[in-house]
């Protein structure tokens, strides 16, 4: 028996929600149910950050500790709040005293029209809660999902860089233990659920509950981060009858390492595995930092990115190039397949009814292997790729120098699904990388792909840039062994 309620802390108040349409977003809940209008709707699609709020949750790794995460309230369903503390802009101020994250913006003249400002305040607040002395790079990473059309950002950056001891003494710090206690108590409750307008939401707590739920209700819609799914509600005005939230499923929210693999639970948000991946594959870590925004990475998951099978998801090409596998689960039955074999056609996969993605396994690198990743988009931050190129190359030294012994080139944005380039790989495999070989590989790429034109790029640009990235990869590999390093990435000038 599941309780038909959602419980969470709204700032420091324990709130219980019953009988609310689970298609309601946190933003709608705040503005329309709670009459808290400090959180703004800029786009209702997770692209501008004006609606940023902060969630505090128990740190799974450190008992008794909280993690503060900025999220886009416009694309988060209200059910996802269960067991968490929702912090909004109105509650930062204590009496007449502005919070540090607010006062620094005032002092630096960082608000003009002020509509984006609450979102910046909350992103800055979350950053300072986790890191009281952020440097410029950390500030830019935390605020890249907040758009401002007035200031040109300089003043906001300077405000957020300002560190202060007072941030450590705000009302949330004072209530820290009480918050931990309250959230710990909520965690012990049975799986939360919510019903309203004949729509249901349930958040199973373990894999068996989830598997049973999906077997009983195969037409359920899985919600992981929901950063893409919520758009069907806010943009296409759809309603989802049955939402099953996987973010509370213990077995799906872990990260483990074996001798040879990194195993990432499908419902683990990016922000919780980025460091591990960055450690083994620096290019991958840097690329993930450019997926969506901090807010999106705090909720978006690997399972979601792979699962919705978009041709422009950034992780699938990287996973395909790495030879990653995924474990699929249905009622206690598991099978493990290559990520590459998951995609069938545009938004079509091999996933069977009631089956779900449990985890993704990424092989650890061994000597002689290189992963090169290139994300090409109109804007560097928070933009969907025109082309995502992932090159996995393994080379061995023989009598004639280096020879390619294993190669996987995978692309996003070049076809209806994320896809390898077999003809191009065939050119490279078994050969030494030379300028002449690269020229052949570039030519072969035209037989692998016939990309399309859309709002992000023309077919011609996609092909040209994909070809050029092979050349760039070659130059970077050459440069790695050369005395003088050739600079090849403008993002390093950020």
């Amino acid at each position: 028996m599941v309780a038909n309620t959602i419980k969470f802390l709204l700032n420091n108040e324990l709130v219980k929600i019953e009988n609310l349409d689970p298609n309601t977003t946190v933003l709608q809940y705040l503005r329309e149910e709670r009459f808290k209008s400090g959180t703004k709707e800029g786009c209702a699609s997770g692209d501008c950050g004006a609606c940023t709020v902060v969630l505090a949750e128990l740190d799974p790794k450190k008992t008794g500790q909280l993690i503060y995460k900025s999220i886009n309230s416009c694309i988060t369903f209200v059910g996802n709040l269960h067991g968490k503390q929702l912090i909004t802009v109105e509650d930062l101020k204590e009496g007449a005293q502005l919070h540090h994250a607010q006062q620094t913006i005032v002092d630096n003249h960082g608000s003009q029209c002020g509509f984006c400002t609450p979102g910046f305040v909350m992103s800055s607040f979350a950053l300072h809660k986790q890191n009281n002395t952020p440097n410029r790079a950390e500030v830019l990473e935390a605020l890249a999902g907040n758009l401002c059309r007035c200031t040109g950002y300089r003043s906001i950056i300077e405000a957020a860089i300002t560190s202060s001891e007072s941030a450590a003494e705000d009302s949330f710090a004072k209530h820290y233990q009480a918050t931990v206690t309250a959230l710990t108590a909520l965690k012990k409750l049975s799986a939360p659920a919510l019903t309203g307008n004949s729509h249901n939401y349930i958040a199973p707590k373990n894999i068996d509950e989830l598997a049973t739920e999906l077997t009983n209700e195969p037409k359920s819609t899985l919600v992981a981060g929901g950063t893409d799914l919520a758009l069907s509600v806010t943009q296409n005005l759809a309603t989802i009858d049955k939402l099953v939230y996987v973010g509370n499923v213990a077995e799906l929210t872990t990260i483990e390492e074996t001798e040879t693999e990194i195993i990432i639970g499908s419902a683990l948000p990016y922000s919780e595995f980025i460091d591990t991946l960055h450690h083994y594959y620096p290019d991958l870590g840097e690329m993930i930092e450019r997926i969506g925004s901090k807010q999106v990475r705090n909720t978006g998951t690997l399972g979601g990115n792979v699962g919705n099978a978009s041709p422009i998801g950034d992780m699938p090409p990287a996973l395909i190039a790495l030879g990653a596998t995924m474990t699929l689960h249905v009622q206690g039955q598991e099978r493990t397949i290559l990520v590459e074999d998951y995609f069938v056609d545009y938004k079509k996969t091999v996933l069977k009814p009631s089956e779900f993605i449990k985890s993704i396994q990424i092989p650890k690198p061994t000597a002689g292997q290189t992963l090169k990743l290139y994300k090409i988009s109109k804007r560097i931050d928070d933009d969907i790729s025109a082309v995502l190129a992932a090159f996995f190359i393994e080379q061995e030294v023989d009598g004639n120098g280096q020879k390619i012994t294993n190669v996987r080139l995978a692309f996003g944005g070049m076809a209806a699904i994320p896809k390898r380039a077999p003809a191009t790989e065939a050119i490279l495999l078994g050969n030494s990388l030379t300028k002449a070989l690269v020229a052949q590989a570039k030519e072969a790429l035209t037989t692998d792909f016939q990309p399309m034109s859309d709002v992000r790029a023309s077919d011609k640009y996609r092909m040209t840039v994909a070809q050029n990235l092979i050349e760039k990869c070659y130059l970077e590999l050459q440069s790695a062994n050369a005395r003088e390093v050739i600079e090849t990435r403008v993002v390093n000038y950020a």
């Binding site: 002092d107 003249h109 560097i380």
Partner: protein
Amino acid sequence: MRSLIDVKKAVTNKVQTNTDKSVVNGQKNVGLGGVGRSKKHESADKQVAGEAIYVDDRPSLRGELHAAVGQSTMAHANIISMDLSAVKAATGVISVITVEDVPGHTDIGPVFPGDPVLAIGKVEFIGQPIFAVAATSFDLARKAVKLAKIEYQELEAVLTVKDALAKQNFVRPPFTMKRGDSDSAITAADHQLSGEILVGGQEHMYLEGQVSTAEPTEDGGMNIFTSSQHPSEVQKLVAEVLDIPLNKVLVDMRRMGGGFGGKETQAAPWACIAALLANVTKRPVKFKLARMDDMVMTGKRHPFENNYTVGFDKDGQIKGINIEVNGNCGYSPDLSDAIVDRAMFHSDNAYYLDQATVTGNRCKLNTVSHTAYRGFGGPQGMMTIEMVMDDIARHLGKDPLDIRKVNLYGTDDRNETHYHQKVEHNNLSEVIESLEESSDYQARRKAITEFNATSPILKKGIALTPVKFGISFTVQHLNQAGALVHVYTDGTIHLSHGGSEMGQGLNTKVAQIVAEEFQVDVDTVACSSARTDKVPNSSPTAASSGTDLNGKAAEAAAKAIKQRLIDFACEKYQVEAEQVQFENNNVIVGEQTFSFAEFSQIAYMGRVSLSSTGFYKTPKIHFDRATGKGRPFFYYATGAAVSEVIIDTLTGEYKTLRTDILQDVGHSINPAIDIGQIEGAFVQGMGWLTTEELVWNEQGRLLSNNPATYKIPAINDAPKDFRVALVPDAPNREHTIYNSKAVGEPPFMLGMAVWSALKDAIASVNDYKTNPKLDTPATPERVLFAVEAIKAVTAK
């Protein structure tokens, strides 16, 4: 030889400007008052706390309904039939109206007719409102409008500027400005060049979308709360569609979450539709546009397609030029006549064109009607001549900066524009040379050339571009403003003025001006929302004129009250006027000192009127469109920027590494606010020319219709090293308010430095021998193809 500006004395964005005590330009403020100080934005504390109320944040009114409109799915078609039965039957729907239900005017064109409030028998762009719905919730209204069945008879659509030009399909007649005989001068010159450029449009992307609430009043009128730069026009149009007199419509505008021109004329349709629905239902109606609807249904910065033919001498000095600017106006005139005019006025930017013919066409296309956007056509006009500068430089093998310098307007001669206004008080030569020095341009130019020689993939570029921007509405009658000031008996001051606050700090600056007049603390002055019942017949807050006009009007109102207080003091205390001083929140009368509050009470008891209106109209301006001659601008605002960029020649990706700006704001009323305007305008201008790409498909449907597909600058796009300085000791030589200069629009065009620097980096691929063609926005795609074009030339 002119002396350089001492940039070391300047207020900059590096020197802390956050203190209210700052001494600006060495000018110490006596007493209190506010002018010249970096006062924080009047709403800053509320904005950061989530307490600032925007229209959508207002508490719901009893029975409030939500509006949505059914939109055209065809670019050009007759409406054959309309079946709205499913819409009417939809959950939550209270009322459905079409143009038949409009009691008054059905055309809400702001200057010229052409904008039906709801479609009248035909549609002229995809997204055009056809019918409107009032429902019990925002989502139910949006869902309901999708249920309409509309039959169309498709008509031929004009979807390119070239097609419009071929068909002479214009929203307004072409216009030419002419000085001398350009054709002969071009032919006679040492060199001739010609070229063309596509200049992209721009989505405003104000963070707060369009929104209005209409509340019926007891006498058949309407109260409107709106996010509009032009409350008086909203008032007029609402009255006209309802067929009621203006005095029954009240428009209240507290603040906008950004405007940038997008809420000058195009806030009104949603207010009118809300009012029509409120009138029918007798209930309050809110109309908030969802972001995608906002992007589809509201006009943008006009895309332009411009071309030129120029003749110049061996030094690169222009002798004659023909320029044609072709604005894509969309389906209706809106403000396009004045916008294309401004593109023509600014086709010279900072340069003496000598013999010049500038022609402007106002092309009619079946897209949304393009509208005002920061710069108002000026930026699109300037792009041509900045392209000419780069083209001449590459042709002669010179640094583009040298060509820009040699073509600058002179001070004593070579100082007449192609519309025959004399360029007075021109300081651009000093501004440019000072910036060249303070930004270390020459040394960096050398370092960049060396970097490029050793970097095969990444290339750097640098450019310095100036801006000269004409200040005043080119429509003369708009250059007027009113204000209303009350002093209460506790010494606090209420201020209303005709301008609207969209984040630019207008209310803060005008409050500083009033506080300065009475020498009281600026916190004593409370600025109310712009309300049409307080200050009537106001002009739009646009054309960078907000402070110039409303500051002067408010000053006049304050001066009137102050004079009454002085007269009263003289009479009551038998002193001479010179013995009455306002200082430090006090009124000093001879030997006696009263607090301002005390003296307000005394004056009240003495039956002195403590309320006054104020009025201002800009002097000196006139323009005769028949002859193309006159002085449309009261003065020019000037500035210059140096930007350095790095590009990737394999992908076209780029970064702006550093930007230095020197901007003349005259005697700054609030340096921190001015710097904020400059920084924000620059980044917005840079976005316009780089990543912000509007894409329409072959049916005329906007594809870049949300922020996932339309990319304004994000935080990492701001220059990593960003140095802004205000020209010190530079009071406006015209008698503007405290000799300040307008700042809203002029620095927007400094973004051209980034575009020119990108071209510089691209040109380096062939050792600066070939001039790259780079239409805008210069997306990574365009940059890559420009690089590839240069490589192709090199290969030959």
